[in-house]
């Protein structure tokens, strides 16, 4: 990775250096508005044409005391002149607004990295809150870094002294000062942010004015002081032309499901019980009343999925969403949906488990629960988006499959995708393929609740209100064709195999998996879900170094793509990185008897590019 620290040698006179990628982390107290600062920097970088990728590091669920270690909030943004897939392994620049922010983030800054601190905050009390015995700015513990001590609070206060605002209000603007400074350092225009400030504080011109002044003050500080050796320029990236917006995985998920309902021409019903990190999807969808979206905040996860099943029975798109512990609670009801063969989509934004685990941390630990977490032979479809913007696509795919095959489909996102963001090429609705709910027609004399479509094995979706189709369904084993309750031995065996075969046949609608690189390479790195970014970048770098390695990625997990076996047999070796102990690897080994190797990390964090890169080098080296 071409980074500032590696490129620049000794500081020189404010020269303008060109870089192809930079990663900045803003860190401060929850109250310091770091998320906002990072979002603004991201937006501006996008507008100037860089490729971007971001990840917020929000403190565990609740607000901790001001200035305390658990209260630190961070936002990392990576921007570049080439296509990138992750928010960067480590920051090149760390902006630390207080001692606690320094303490919790300095570990990630590589030696020689740039550290900008708000030195005003490094006083007794704050140092104590951050459990610093001595002041790191004085005790030499930061020698490894290029430290810039900026009295941000003071400078900001001075800039706003005659703004007519209270001291508290003034102090709130200091994040804009920091942002301005970074804008100068990376030669970004301020206009996007200036416009945004005007909008945001339209009702409050004084505050707007103050924020704008802080921003400019920060920018000018960089320009005018001798403090900074150099500043930098990151050229545009080559990107597919079109209209873009920055989007998080959870936003894309919500938009994807909304879009699916429009494509199917059926209302969306979302039954959910709040849970980190899935709650944002509920928040998003509950805003979409104008689209007729019905959101049901249930008393628990069981009620949420039950209501979704009821809505699907009624002909709506019954959707339910949760995280791992909630999926466990939904198990029994998902089994019911398997038996009654109704369309249902279940979102699982995975988080670190087992049990309550680490709610704000990411993991891929629920794959086997999604596959097998129900009594009896209870097959369901499983899909997994590969990146924040891919959440949009796979959400629609989930419904396409669920409706066509009348079956539950589990949509496996995770905290890293849900909270992470990247640019999204805004799609054209009219160009998307419609979804046909294909309801059973009224008064069909040949209607049989469990008669199957010969190609898909799907049964009719016969919704209440349709004259002539009155019938009863339920969780007891059904008799083939009639759907009546049956304890017949041969019938049960047949139905069990029908349900399995139906899910297997979804492969008809699953695209082949693509190989990036030589299909016969010495090593194929196979991933699924959110490991896409790290794997793709790592493999591209290794390829650039001339290693014989290729990558492939699974977004359809059950059924698996038809060509997967070939793809796995052609390379000499196969490596599967997973944020679990090897769940998908187990499924593939069982199915194909191929000795797939694992790279497994279960630390609540995504893979860094370097981790994957090193493992590849180790195998091929």
């Amino acid at each position: 990775m071409a980074t500032l620290t590696r490129q620049s040698g000794e500081p020189t006179q404010q020269e303008l250096q060109e870089l192809d990628r930079v990663t900045i982390r803003f860190a401060g107290d929850s109250g310091d508005g770091m998320q906002l600062t990072g979002t603004q920097f991201t937006k501006t970088s996008a507008v100037v044409g860089n490729d971007i990728s971001t990840f917020p590091d929000i403190p565990a669920e609740i607000r901790a005391p001001q200035g305390s270690l658990p209260g630190v909030s961070g936002f990392q943004v990576s921007f570049s002149s080439y296509e990138i897939y992750t928010p960067g392994d480590a920051p090149d620049v760390l902006v630390a607004m207080n001692p606690a922010a320094l303490k919790t983030n300095i570990g990630d800054l590589p030696r020689g990295g740039i550290l900008v601190v708000n030195e005003d905050e490094f006083n007794e009390t704050n140092l104590k809150k951050a459990a610093y015995a001595s002041n790191p700015l004085e005790d030499g513990s930061l020698q490894a870094y290029r430290v810039y001590r900026v009295p941000i609070s003071t400078l900001n206060a001075r800039a706003l002294k005659d703004s007519g605002l209270t001291a508290v209000q003034i102090d709130r603007c200091k994040n804009m000062f920091a942002l301005g400074l970074m804008y100068w350092m990376y030669s970004r225009p301020m206009d996007t942010t200036l416009r945004w400030i005007d909008q945001k504080f339209a009702k409050n011109p004084e505050v707007a004015e103050a924020n704008k002044r802080s921003l400019k003050a920060g920018y000018n500080f960089g320009e005018t002081t001798e403090m900074f050796a150099s500043h930098y320029h990151v050229p545009k990236a080559k990107q597919k032309p079109g209209l873009y917006r920055n989007i998080t995985g959870n936003e894309a998920t919500a938009l994807g499901f909304l879009t699916a309902s429009k494509l199917a021409g059926r209302p969306l019903f979302y039954g959910s019980y709040p849970i980190t990190p899935a709650s944002d999807i509920l928040h998003e969808l509950s805003r979409f009343k104008r689209f007729g979206v019905k959101t049901f905040q249930a008393e628990d996860e069981i009620a949420a999925v039950g209501a979704a099943i009821g809505a699907s029975f009624g002909g709506a798109l019954g959707l339910t969403g949760t995280s791992g512990p909630g999926l466990a609670l939904k198990s029994e009801a998902i089994g019911l949906a398997v038996m009654v063969e109704l369309p249902l989509v279940v979102i699982d934004v995975q988080r670190a488990g087992p049990s309550t685990g680490m709610p704000t941390k990411t993991e891929q630990g629920d794959l086997l629960q999604a596959m097998f977490g129900r009594n009896g032979e209870s097959p369901v479809g499983v899909v997994a988006p590969a990146s924040p913007s891919d959440c949009f696509t796979m959400a629609i795919e989930a419904w396409r499959l669920a409706i066509k095959y009348r079956t539950p489909v589990i949509y496996l996102s995770d905290g890293y995708l849900g909270m992470g963001s990247e640019p999204w090429l805004v799609p054209d609705f009219d160009a998307m393929e419609k979804i046909d709910p294909n309801f059973a027609p009224p008064h069909d004399p040949n209607f049989k609740p469990y008669a199957r479509d010969p190609q898909t094995l799907a049964r009719p979706w016969a919704i209440p209100g349709t004259p002539g189709l009155e019938h009863r369904i339920g969780g007891l084993e059904k008799s083939d064709i009639t759907g009546n309750v049956s304890y017949d031995a041969a019938n049960h065996d047949r139905m069990v195999r029908f349900r399995a075969e139906k899910v297997a046949r979804m492969v008809q609608d699953v695209p082949d998996v693509e190989v990036n690189g030589d299909p016969e390479a010495d090593l194929l790195v196979l991933g699924w879900g959110s490991t896409y970014g790290a794997i793709t970048s790592a493999v591209q770098r290794c390829q650039a170094k001339g290693m014989s390695v290729a990558s492939a990625h699974l977004r359809y997990l059950n059924p698996l793509p038809a060509n997967l076996e070939q793809v796995l047999r052609r390379p000499k070796r196969v490596l599967m990185p997973e944020i679990n102990l090897g769940q998908m690897r187990m499924l593939l080994r069982a199915r194909y008897l191929i000795d797939i190797e694992g790279l497994n990390k279960v630390s609540g964090r995504p893979f860094t590019i370097a981790e994957v890169e090193n493992k590849i080098a180790e195998i091929l080296g």
Partner: protein, 349 residues
Amino acid sequence: MVTATRDDRADGNVPVLTRKDFVSDQEVRWCPGCGDYSILAQTQKVMPDLGLPREKIVFISGIGCSSRLPYYMNTFGFHSIHGRAPTIASGLKAARPDLSVWVVTGDGDALSIGGNHILHVLRRNVDLQIILHNNEIYGLTKGQYSPTSELGKRTKSSPYGTIDAPLHPLSVAIGAEATFVARAIDTDAALLQNVLERAHQHRGASFVEVYQNCNIYNDGAFRDFAAKEVRADRTILLEHGKPMIFGKERNKGLRFNGARFEVVTVGEDGVTEDDIFVHDETRPDPGIAFMLSRMEWPEYPVPVGVIRAVQRPTYDALMTKQIEDVIAAEGEGDLREIYLEGDTWTVEE
């Protein structure tokens, strides 16, 4: 078979239906003599009077003997999983307010595993009819005690007697903000039909407890007060606007003594009909209804009929209205607009 032709449906006319139209082709599978037969019969009887075509009616149940009822109704039906019928019904009704949705459940299904959903479906006031077959036992699993079994009851799972005090279904319902609460007895066909019709007329969640005899595992559980011979003296039919009088001679009544009800005899020690408390099912304050829900034989006659029926907007109606209001205020949603929310930029060729 339905007597109606397609056309009058197309015209939206309601076809003329009879009880037989609501009898499905499935063989009824309850023990001979089970109280569920009567509940099924009365339910089928009242259906034609609802003035709805069959396809607009849905019966949703959990698991239990009682929960098999939907199979026998020639309407749409869903025999779901244990305790969860209210959740499925809530989702269906919210998505499809045009349907008449009935929940059939048992004392275990509704109050043991399903207790939480009952609390919430009632407080939300989803427009459903919830019919609880209370036989004070787990029938389907062959006779363990239920949350309504009397303290000390000996069953397969309590050979030395239970130590769990029972719940009072109607008290639970009123404690959960129920807007319609009623009670009937399997063997009193007229009362049961009347209560079922009232439940359907009520806009909101109607909670109906039906005392149902399980002649296999809990025979005679209600005999003491529900048996024909004694019913008049040991139950009291509550009628809106009428004094709470009961008894074969219609001379017994309930008087409120300042903090609680007491049973008095009209004509004895100076008690006149004016002293008898008048039943008002529409009281906004559920206090009195709650007191009625506590009355048990032998201290009191067992109240039957409609105990509480008050108006409150239904969950499904509010959901629809909220969407209509938002659209009226902000206009129909435009996908493109939502896609472009937040900050956008263009990458030129």
